[in-house]
Each structure stands twice: as structure tokens, then as C-alpha cells.
């Protein structure tokens, strides 16, 4: 039995540590620990709830829109503000664009190097690479000259002897299986995607002033004025700019990302049998198509249990609880309790080893993440959960995309419950959303045409218009999965705030019943050829797209936790 520690897990957002027991070349047990804590919800206490989105937005600069969206929805729910149709459409555009850009970056810049051997690309034949690329799609940048140029740049880089971010990695590891030409193609697209993401995200700058950390969110609507004939508002010119950016994104996703994804997947089909995890999937639903609380969502909410695609349960918010048995917090009623977020309490209490340390005591508390559970069960959230719930709900477009991909790879739907399934679902969701974005631009243009220029519910802006004591919840499907914020507003100020975040669902530790969280469960049975180079562990962990800064949170409506924090 070998005990391995991967810390830092790189190519993720935030600080994650994985410890695992490996025996006979297979992971027998695994523990996921988050090692950073900021206490943002404590900081929110007593502040103006209209400011909260800017605070929570800074939970994460990668998924830089998600906590702002969940926050304004929670406050709107509490105070009764109703965003007008233009605000809904603008939010849909911003959210879906975030998902598209985030997923592409994840595939190429955070995950690809687990499957692609950069050094092997140096022995590729550019002409053969061009032939390969042209057989996959009609993307224009696929000539032998283009690939020769990329190879030359890579060679010049390597020859200077300073490998920078590519240094000291697992190149040559036996688990790398792509031929040199596929590796060169992927390296070329790694660079192309770096350029592409910078260009596409201008959509966020148009609608939000800047990215990261867009600044056009408002409780009750959006701050971006809409007026077809004003140069200081979203106007007819903006509509054209948005459509152009979206057309470019559609081309990149359908001609580069998806073909690359399927090509890489075809060499790693065994990973469709690895990394399944807990097999329960939770989705809140997203992209409201009409206005009002019960509006239909483009991606439906629901719950799938035990990998049973024949049944989708409706999502019931009251079934969410959090436990702290293995988390560095105390509960006043004892650590065995499972509390709903609306009555959640957290008192940070670090009991782990004093840094610097070598090992965590995984029998005790070992993470800054709590253990969220739905009806007592651990749940996987994210693109795979969304695609499964939509697929099982009979969503026509999702069914078409999923069945098409499965047919191309020659595998059945059971292959989705895996590390490779997560990677594939993320790509298919990207295609689904990039195809949908244009519809919302059309809807915005249609509203302009009708003369509906409303962007904000001003009737509920003034705190004197709010109930003295109110509470609300805001739900959102972030790129990494189901996100919920709960807020309690008293006398116009925040009296309690809580976030239950996708990476908390996925990366959380064991609960009181010793049920492992989704990362921990997914790592069981993962092959490890060389415990010194646990590349395979990274593949499964990265397939979830960890976002640790998001995952860690703490709240106490009474502010009691401060007494327990030992600050020097």
C-alpha cells in the first residue's frame, strides 16, 4: 500500500489536496481536502444586500459571473424585486457565454495536458498532422505550413532550455496514448484556444464592462441601458457585435473543440469505464425562457439516483443539508447534525496539523469544505449531471447531441457515467449553449424593436420598499454545477448569508455516515501506473473541473464563529 499526496493539484482554480492509498496499481481509498479559507460570508454580515453580488462575485474569478447571479437572485427573491425581460435575456447571454468560454478553457488549458504529451508533439510530421486535422473538420487553419509553424515555435521554446509551465511534468508517461500528430494538433489548438477565449469574452465586456468580474449586475435587473439609437446603450450596433462574436464561437466550438474532443476520446475509451463516482446527479435548472419564478428553463432541473436514467425526480430545495463531521467547523448541536442552508451555522475550528505538515489525519476532520447532501445522499453536479437530466427528461437537442457523440465513439449511454463521460458532457453542453446564444440576442433585438427598453425594477430599489424581515434563495447552474445562495435581510441589512457551491458538492469530504464525496468516490479503482507520477489521479479529478475558492464557505447568521477564530 502506497500513500500518495498530490498537493498542490495544479491546473484548477484554488487550492486542492488529494491524498490516496494505492495498492496493486489501483486507488483503494482517497480523500479530498480544500486548504484555503477566506470567510466571505462573515464579511457580508450587516452590509447592504444590494452590494452582496460584488462581494460574492469575488469568490471566484474563473467562473466570474456565477456568484453575482446567484446573489442577485437570492436578494430579489427576498425583497420581491422582479427583473424585466431585457434583464433576463442579458443574464442568459452572460451566463451561457461564461459556460462556453469556461468549458473551452477547461478542456484546452486545464485538462488537455492530462491526455496530450507536449514533448511527443516535437516528433510529429506537420503534413500528416494537417491530413489528420482536415479529416476531422473544415477549420481553415489546418495547413502543413501552419502545423510546421507551431512545431517550430514549440521547438524553439524547448531548445532554449527553459520549459516554464511545461517543466517537470509527466511527459513520456505510459498512460499518454496519442500519436505525435494528434499531440501536435492539440498543442496547436491549445494556443489557438488561448487566442480565441480572449476574443470571445469581449461579449462579457460589451454586456458587463469588463471580464473578469463583470460590473453590470443589479438587484432587480441589469445596469446596461438598452436603446437602439443611443451610442451609450446596448444598441443596434451592439446586436451586430454580439452576433459576430457568437458566430466566431460557434465556428471554434463545432470545428475545433468538438472534433478534438472526439478525436482524443477515441484513444482513451477505457476511461469510459473509470471514475464513475457516486452515481447520483443533481441539477437546479437554468436559462429561464420566460419571466417569473416558475418560468420554464432551457436546461431542466431534476435529480437522478443510482445511474437510473428511466426516472428524473423534481428538485426540492428543502432536501439540501450540510454536514461537518470531517470539516474544520463545529456545529452547536453536535457534529452529527445535518442542517438546511437557511438555518445553517458554521464555526470555523481548525483541528488539522500545524503547517508545515506532511499528512492529514483523514479519520478526523480534514477539509475546509463541508459535506452537502441531498436527501442524505452525496450528489454529483455539473455538465454531466445537466446533460443526464436533460437527456433523461427527453430534451430534444440534448438527446440529439448525446446520441450523436455516443454513436461516433461506438459506446452506449452507460459510458457517460465516467471520467470520459464528464469530459464529453462538458463539450456537448458547450455546443448546445453556443448554438442557443444567438436566440437570446434576437430576443433582445425584438424587445428593442417593440420599444421595451426596461432593464431594472426601480420600485424595489429603495430599502424602504422592502419587508422589515425577509429571506430568499437564489439558484443557478454555474459551469461547474448547481449553485445556491441563501440570504436573510433584516432592517435593510444582511443578517445571514450562505452559499452551497458546485465544488462543495463535488469535492466535499466524507459525511457522518462515512459516505465519500464525489471526487473521493470517483477516484476508487482509478489505475495508477507509477505512484510517483499520479497522472491518472489528475485525469479524474480534473474531469470535475475543480474550483476550490468557490467551494469553501462559512456562514453564521449570528456571527458567533468569530469568537472561535484564532487570529494572531
Amino acid at each position: 500500500m502506497t500513500h500518495i499526496v498530490v498537493d498542490p493539484v495544479t491546473r484548477i482554480e484554488g487550492h486542492l489536496r488529494i491524498e490516496a492509498e494505492v495498492d496493486g496499481g489501483v486507488v483503494k481509498d482517497a480523500w479530498s481536502s480544500s486548504t484555503m479559507f477566506r470567510g466571505i460570508e462573515i464579511i457580508l454580515q450587516g452590509r447592504d444586500p444590494r452590494d452582496a453580488w460584488a462581494f460574492t462575485q469575488r469568490i471566484c474569478g474563473v467562473c466570474t459571473t456565477v456568484h453575482a447571479i446567484a446573489s442577485i437572485r437570492a436578494v430579489e427573491d427576498a425583497i420581491g424585486a422582479v427583473p424585466p425581460p431585457n434583464a433576463r435575456v442579458l443574464r442568459n447571454l452572460i451566463m451561457a457565454a461564461q459556460c462556453v468560454q469556461d468549458h473551452v478553457i477547461h478542456f484546452y488549458h486545464l485538462h488537455a495536458l492530462d491526455w496530450v504529451d507536449v514533448v511527443s508533439a516535437l516528433s510529429a510530421d506537420p503534413a500528416a498532422t494537417a491530413t489528420l486535422a482536415q479529416s476531422l473538420s473544415d477549420w481553415p487553419e489546418s495547413s502543413p505550413t501552419y502545423f510546421a509553424g507551431v512545431k517550430a515555435r514549440l521547438k524553439a521554446f524547448v531548445d532554449r532550455g527553459q520549459l516554464g509551465p511545461f517543466g517537470n511534468a509527466y511527459w513520456g508517461h505510459p498512460a499518454y496514448r496519442l500519436p505525435p500528430e494528434a499531440n501536435l494538433m492539440a498543442v496547436a489548438h491549445y494556443l489557438a484556444a488561448l487566442e480565441w477565449q480572449r476574443d470571445f469574452i469581449k461579449l462579457h465586456a460589451v454586456l458587463g464592462g469588463k471580464n473578469p468580474h463583470l460590473q453590470s449586475f443589479l438587484v432587480g435587473g441589469m445596469a446596461t441601458p438598452v436603446d437602439p439609437s443611443s451610442p451609450a446603450a446596448l444598441n443596434i450596433h451592439t446586436i451586430a457585435v454580439l452576433q459576430k462574436l457568437i458566430a466566431g464561437a460557434r465556428a471554434f466550438v463545432s470545428k475545433v473543440y468538438i472534433p478534438d474532443l472526439l478525436a482524443v476520446a477515441s484513444f482513451y475509451k477505457d476511461w469510459a469505464g473509470i471514475g464513475a463516482g457516486v452515481g447520483n446527479y443533481l441539477v437546479y435548472g437554468e436559462y429561464p425562457l420566460t419571466d417569473g419564478a416558475n418560468a420554464p428553463r432551457y436546461l431542466p432541473g431534476g435529480v437522478i439516483r443510482g445511474r437510473d436514467l428511466s426516472k428524473v425526480e423534481p428538485f426540492a430545495p428543502e432536501k439540501i443539508t450540510e454536514q461537518v463531521t470531517h470539516s474544520w467547523y463545529d456545529y452547536s448541536g453536535g457534529d452529527a447534525a445535518a442542517l438546511h442552508p437557511s438555518v445553517g451555522e458554521t464555526r470555523p475550528h481548525y483541528t488539522g496539523p500545524k503547517p508545515p505538515y506532511e499528512r492529514l489525519d483523514t479519520n478526523a476532520k480534514y477539509s475546509w469544505l463541508k459535506s452537502p447532501r441531498y436527501d442524505g445522499a452525496p450528489m454529483e453536479v455539473g455538465p454531466l449531471a445537466r446533460m443526464l437530466v436533460a437527456y433523461a427528461s427527453g430534451h430534444a437537442q440534448v438527446k440529439g447531441l448525446v446520441d450523436g457523440a455516443l454513436a461516433k465513439l461506438g459506446v452506449g449511454p452507460e459510458a457517460l457515467f465516467s471520467t470520459l463521460g464528464r469530459v464529453a458532457a462538458r463539450g456537448l453542453e458547450t455546443q448546445l449553449l453556443v448554438d442557443k446564444l444567438g436566440d437570446w440576442v434576437d430576443e433582445l433585438a425584438g424587445n428593442m424593436d417593440k420599444g421595451d427598453l426596461r432593464i431594472h425594477d426601480s420600485d424595489r430599489w429603495d430599502p424602504s420598499s422592502w419587508p422589515k424581515d425577509c429571506a430568499g434563495a437564489g439558484f443557478h447552474e454555474a459551469p461547474r454545477g448547481a449553485l445556491g445562495h441563501w440570504v436573510h435581510v433584516k432592517g435593510g441589512k444582511i443578517a445571514g448569508y450562505q452559499c452551497v457551491v458546485p465544488s462543495t458538492w463535488n469535492a466535499g469530504p466524507r459525511d457522518g455516515q462515512q459516505q465519500p464525496g464525489p471526487y473521493e468516490a470517483a477516484l476508487l479503482g482509478t489505475p495508477v501506473a507509477d505512484p510517483e507520477q499520479p497522472l491518472e489521479v489528475l485525469r479524474t479529478v480534473h474531469s470535475f473541473d475543480p474550483c476550490m475558492a468557490c467551494g469553501v464557505h462559512v456562514v453564521d447568521p449570528k456571527g458567533r464563529e468569530l469568537a472561535r477564530v484564532q487570529v494572531r
Binding site: V6, V9, T10, R11, E13, H15, M36, F37, R38, G39, I43, D48, A54, R58, G61, V62, I105, H109, V118, G149, R153, A156, Q162, L163, G164, P165, G167, N168, A169, Y170, L194, Q197, R198, I201, K202, A205, G209, K210, N211, H213, Q215, S216, L218, A223, P225, P231, A233, W328, Y350, K354, P356, R454, H456, S458, D462, P463, Q533, V565, Q566, R568
Partner: protein, 395 residues
Amino acid sequence: MRAGADDAFRRELTARGVTRRDFMGFCSGVAALLALPRSAVGQIADALATKPKPVLVWLEFQDCCGNSESFLRASKPTAADVILDLLSVDYHETIMAAAGHQAEAALEKAITDHKGQYIVVVEGSIPTGADGAYCTIGGKSALQIARTVCRDALAVISAGTCAAFGGLPAASPNPTGALSVGDAVPGIRTLINLPACPVNAENLTAVIAYFITFGKWPATDRLNRPLFAYGKTIHDNCERRAHFDAGQYVEQFGDAGHRIGYCLYKMGCKGPVTSQNCPNIRWNEGTNWPIGCGHPCIGCAEPAFWDKMTPFYAHLTGVPGFGTAADIDKIGLYATAGVAAAMTTHGLVQLGRKAYDKRKAAAAKPPEAKPTESKAVAAKAADEPADKPTAGGAS
């Protein structure tokens, strides 16, 4: 550029698919951003072409990764240019291929082999509570890592407000005892603070290009901020400044004034007290900026802005320069008409503005004029100065 170096470099650029025009365009852009003379363009190009690649390590502590993401949006030069051609980025958790102890070994090697010569970029604040357990990497606390790595660095660049000033984790009541890099690691040889939430990538890459070109760092102010980026306030260069001076304000989000780009001062804009070059360079390759999209500035580049600039939608008090000299005189007359005795400076400005707005509205009715005075937010701001004192660290 020297002829030999020029030829060799031109060949290398061509091999990479970069034309000489593209490259010189980039160098001109850097020179313009730094307010350098035209003659500096050649010097920048020469330096980028011929000098060995400096080593850079990028540390993330109590961060959100927003500054790394911002860096990926850099255009002049791009992140790929920096990573592949200008610098050797030997450690950056978000992009590096190696993980675990191989990653730690890469950091160790970089700071040992290049002791005193490497550049550090830090993103995120550094917690001091709970013996450092609020942020550990590889089992070591952020404080232990920062002290080891930053002390032997040629220079440390604090990217973003968290690293520069403590930022969000240090906001009241600072639950984790978070500190800025400068406060957590005394004795840093050269410290450059690049606040903003997140850092504007063009400012970060300009600082790096300046160093590569001149072998020294740009001039800074008393808060270690480069003057080229932080020498003026947002208000100084705001595209809506004329509306401020003319007393044309947004009164409600979505009103007629909002749609035609009136001043956001009354909606809580913190541009008058925020030093940053947003209006000049804007964001995402000049596409837009927060005020350009209709939202007030939240003052994100200022120390303690989470405490001093909130509530974000309450407007500032006592901003000088409002109206014209003639109006100020009239305000004075108005004040002496009976209410002067109890009037604070703020009250004076408020009252003056009201009178001014009335005259303004009468003189030139804005389309669909919808004057809504005495909003509760404004009233609250009058009671509660926005500049409330910063809360101290946690007890």
C-alpha cells in the same frame, strides 16, 4: 535595433507567424501606455528581441484566480507571448503541467537557481490566523511560502487588490487575519503594487515590458503603484466628465439620462476618489469599462475599498469641482438666504446640486425628464458618510 539582432529576430518572428509590423505595433502600444517617447519604441523592441528570458514565478494565496484570468486576456503582449517568448514562467499553479511534489520541485529549483534574479507575481492576500492553516499549499502555509520566495526575489509584483492591499479577505472583520504581501513580508527589495479587482492585464504586462526594456521598474507613488497607471483618478479622465460638470446625472437605472450616458455620480460612482487608468485603456483590449456599461465605479483599486467605498450605491459626499464657478456663487447666495448656519459642506453641495438640477431641468429638459430627488439611498448617504473608518483586523 542593431542590424544583426534585427535580422535574427525577424527570422524568429517569421517562424512564429509574427510579422515585424505586428511586433513593432506591440512595442509602440507599450510605449504609449507607459507615456514614453517615440524613440523608446526601438529600445523596447531591441530589448525584447535580444535579452535572455527572466524567470517569473506566480504565487496564488487567498485569491479567486481573477488576476490570472485577467492575465490570460492580455493582448499586448498576449499571455502566450509572455509565457512562450518573453519570460520563463516556471511556476504558476493554474497553468503549469506539473502537480504535487513535481510542482513544488519546480518552484524550489527556480528560486534556488535564480536567487536574487527572479520576479514574483503574487495574487491573493496572506492569512496569518490559525497558525497559517487558512491557506496551505503542499502542507506549507501561505506565509511560509511567501517569506521564502519573496525575500530572495529581484522584485515582487502584487497583482490585484488582495495582494496589494489585503482586498476582500481583509475586509471587516477580516476573519482570517489577511494581510497584503507588503505587510506580510517586510523587506522586499522592490515591491510594485498593481491594485484593481482584478488587475488590468495591460498594466501588468506593461510593467513587465518596462523591466525587460530598461532593466529597472517604473516610477511609483507612496503606495508603490506605478504612476503611469495610477497617477490620475477615474474622474479626471472619465468620458462622462462633461455631464458631471454640466450637472447631468442618472437618477434611476434605465432612465432617459442613463440611456444617453449621463454621469453616474448620484448612483454611487467612486470614480472621483479612485486612482486607476480604466478610462484610458479600458478592458478586454479596449472593448469597454464599467462606467461605459452604465454601472458606477466601485473604487476597486483603492485600499480597503470593500469597507470605505460601501454601500456601493450611496453617492460620495463633498466632491469638489461640481458645477461651474458661476453656479458655486449662486449656491452661496442660495445658502445665505436662511439655512447657512446648520449647513455642513456636504449639505451645501447637496442643496446646491438640487437647485442646480432644477435650473438645469428648466433650461434644457432632457428627453423624458424624470427628476426623482430625495431617494432613500441619497438620504442615507447624507446621514452616513461613505468614508467611514476602516475596521481593523480581527481580534
